[in-house]
Amino acid sequence: MNLIGEKISYKPDEQFHLNDVSFNFKKGNLYTILGRTLSGKTTLLKTIAGLLNPDQGSISFEEKDFIKIPVWERNVAMVYQQFINYPHLNVYENITFPLEQRKLSPEQIKKDVDDALKTVGLVGFENRKIQELSGGQQQRVALARSLAKKAKILLLDEPLVNLDYKLREQLREEFKRIFSEGLSQDTILIYSTTDPQEVMELNGEVIVLDEGKVLQKGPAKEIFENPSNLKVAEISNDPPMNVLKGSKNPKNLNFENISLEIPNHFKNLEDKDYNFGIRASEIKLDKNGEEFEIELAEISGSETLLHLKRGNSKIIALIEEVMNFKIHEKVKINFNVNKFYAFGEDEKLVSSPYGGTNG
C-alpha cells in the first residue's frame, strides 16, 4: 500500500535530472526532500505527481503501476514555491475547483472548503480576488486547496522559499500544526526544501538529493548527526559544514599548521589524511585560539557570520551575538574539537561525534 519508486531516472537533455532514485513512502508519514536548487527535488515531485514521465524506473502506489495513471486521475495535491492559484477565480472558487472537478456533492464541498479555510486561517477571505492577497495568503490558499482535496499524496515544493523571513517562520510553525491535525493517516506528505532547519523542525524522514542522485536517506536526526559524506554534510547544514584538509597522527590532529588534541571519538582512527568537518556553530572566539583573517562579516538577525581564512582553508564561524569586525582584521578562534567529523579522502564519513560511521 506504499508509494514505491524504483530506479527512477529522468534525462531530458545532457544532464540527469533524476539518476537512479528509489524510495518507499508509507502512508501517514512525512517525508522531506533536502537538496540544493536544481538538485532534482521539483523533478522528483513532478514525477510523483505524474507531470513528468521518467525515462526509466517504476512507481507504484497501492500496488498499481502509477506511471500508467495520468496525472488527473492520480489524486495527488501539490503546492508550488511560486504562489500558484487560479487568477480568474476568487479564494472560495479556487478551493472548490478540484472538488467540483471530482463532482462531489455541494454539501460535501462546502464542508471541506470551510474546514480547509479554517485550517489555513483564511475564514472571511472567501470572496477576495487572488491578486488582492499577500504572498503568504496566496500560499495559504494554495495549501487550502491541496488540503480540501484530501489527496492521498500531498506534495509541497519549497512552499516557503518565496516568502519573507518572518512569514516563513510563522507559516512553518503552522505547517507543523496543520500536518499533525489536518491530515488523515492515509496521506503521504512529501515536502521539499533547501533549508536544513526546516528539515529538522518538520522532523520527518529525509531524502538528501544532489544532481538527481539520492545521497542519504533516514530520519532527520540521523542525517544531521551522521551525514554519510561531505556533500550531505554541506547540504544539511546552514551555513554549510566547514571542511578542513588535514591529517591525524598519534598525538594530534593537524591542519593549516594548527594542532589540536585528538577527541575521544577519533581515538580509533587510522593515522592518515582526512577531511575534517566542523559546524560553524562549533567555532568560538577565543583569545587563546588560533589566528584567522576575516574576509567578510555578515550580520543576520542576532548572529554574526564570519568568513575566515588561513592558508588554503576558508571557514565560516557563527557567532551568536552582533559584533562589528573589520575586514582583514585578525581574530583568534577556538574549535570545539569534540564535534569534529572525519571524512575520508573519498569524502565518506569515517567518524562522527554521534558515533555514526559509513559502512
Binding site: 507531470l51 513528468l52 514521465n53 495520468p70
Partner: protein, 288 residues
C-alpha cells in the same frame, strides 16, 4: 509535461496550414521548372533554365533585391528608433496619454494600398499640399515621386508612417511589462536619464526589440502595396523591390514560370538571411 494530447492541440492548426499551403508550395516549385508564360500556358519541363537565367542574366532582380534590402533595413531602423522614442515618451505619465497612444496607433489600422493612394495625392508634385506648403516657405518644388533618389525616401516616409505604430505598440507593451526594481535601483544610484536608458531600459528591452525588429523585417520585406500605388517602381527602376518585380514578371508580363523561379529563390534567400539577422542581432544586443 508530455502527453499524447499535445498532438490534439498542435495538429489542427499545423495541418490546416500545411493542408492549405502544400499545394501552392509544390505548385510553385514545379512551376519554376516550367516555361509557363502567356503564349505557352503549359506545365512543360525545362529543367533549371529559369534558374540559370536568374543567376546569369537578370541583374534587375538582384538590383531590386538590394534596393529592397536598403529600403526595408532603413525603414525598420527608422521605425525602431522613432517607435522607441514615442513609446518612451508616452510610457510614463504625460498629459493626454491615452489620446496620443491611440493617435500613434492609428496608421497601422489603415489599409496600405488605400492610404498610399492618399499619399500619392499628398506628395503630388504640383497638385499636392506638401509642395504647395513648402512653396509658401519659398522652397522649390521637391520631386517627391519623380526623382530617383528622393522617390526612395518618399517610399520610406510612407512606410514609416504606416508601420512605426506597429513597432511603437510592441515596444510600449514591452516597456509596460518591465520589472520596476532595476529602475528603483538606478534611481537610488542617482543615474541620469541617459545612463538609465543605456544601462537599464535598453538592455531590459533587448529581447523585445529583437522580436519586434525581426517581425518588422519580415513584414517590411514584402513592401509592395506602397510601391505599387505610389511610384509603380519608378522613376526608372528606382523604387522597384523584389516583390514588385515578381509581380511585374508574373501578373503583368505573365511569365509565370520565371516568376515562380523568382519567388522560390526569393523565399529561400529571405529565410536564410532572416535567420542570420536574428542570430546576429541576438549576439549584438544581448550581452551575457
Amino acid at each position: 509535461m508530455n502527453f499524447k494530447h499535445k498532438f490534439v492541440f498542435l495538429f489542427p492548426g499545423l495541418f490546416v496550414l500545411i493542408g492549405i499551403l502544400i499545394f501552392p508550395i509544390i505548385f510553385t516549385i514545379r512551376l519554376s521548372l516550367s516555361g509557363w508564360n502567356s503564349y505557352t500556358p503549359e506545365m512543360n519541363f525545362i529543367g533549371i533554365t529559369n534558374y540559370i537565367r536568374l543567376f546569369t542574366d537578370d541583374p534587375r532582380f538582384w538590383e531590386s533585391f538590394f534596393r529592397l534590402s536598403f529600403l526595408s533595413v532603413t525603414t525598420v531602423i527608422l521605425q525602431y528608433v522613432i517607435g522607441f522614442a514615442l513609446a518612451m515618451m508616452v510610457w510614463r505619465e504625460i498629459k493626454f496619454k491615452r489620446f496620443f497612444r491611440v493617435i500613434f496607433l492609428v496608421p497601422m489600422m489603415t489599409t496600405p494600398v488605400i492610404m498610399t493612394v492618399i499619399w500619392r495625392t499628398f506628395f503630388h508634385e504640383s497638385l499636392g499640399p506638401v509642395n504647395d506648403l513648402l512653396g509658401g516657405l519659398g522652397v522649390k518644388p521637391i520631386l517627391w515621386l519623380s526623382d530617383p533618389v528622393i522617390a526612395k525616401f518618399t517610399v520610406i516616409i510612407v512606410e514609416v508612417w504606416q508601420w512605426t505604430p506597429f513597432m511603437f505598440l510592441l515596444l510600449l507593451a514591452g516597456l509596460l511589462s518591465l520589472p520596476k526594481e532595476p529602475f528603483l535601483a538606478a534611481a537610488i544610484d542617482g543615474a541620469s536619464p541617459f545612463r538609465k536608458f543605456v544601462y537599464v531600459t535598453f538592455p531590459l528591452m533587448a529581447p523585445i526589440s529583437i522580436g519586434a525588429i525581426i517581425i518588422r523585417l519580415i513584414e517590411a520585406s514584402k513592401i509592395m502595396d506602397t510601391v505599387f500605388v505610389l511610384t509603380s517602381g519608378g522613376p526608372g527602376t528606382a523604387t522597384e523591390t523584389s516583390s514588385f518585380y515578381i509581380y511585374i514578371k508574373g501578373l503583368r508580363e505573365f511569365q509565370m514560370g520565371y516568376a515562380a523561379t523568382l519567388s522560390f529563390t526569393y523565399l529561400v534567400i529571405m529565410i536564410i538571411s532572416l535567420t542570420i539577422i536574428a542570430k546576429v542581432l541576438t549576439k549584438l544586443m544581448i550581452k551575457e
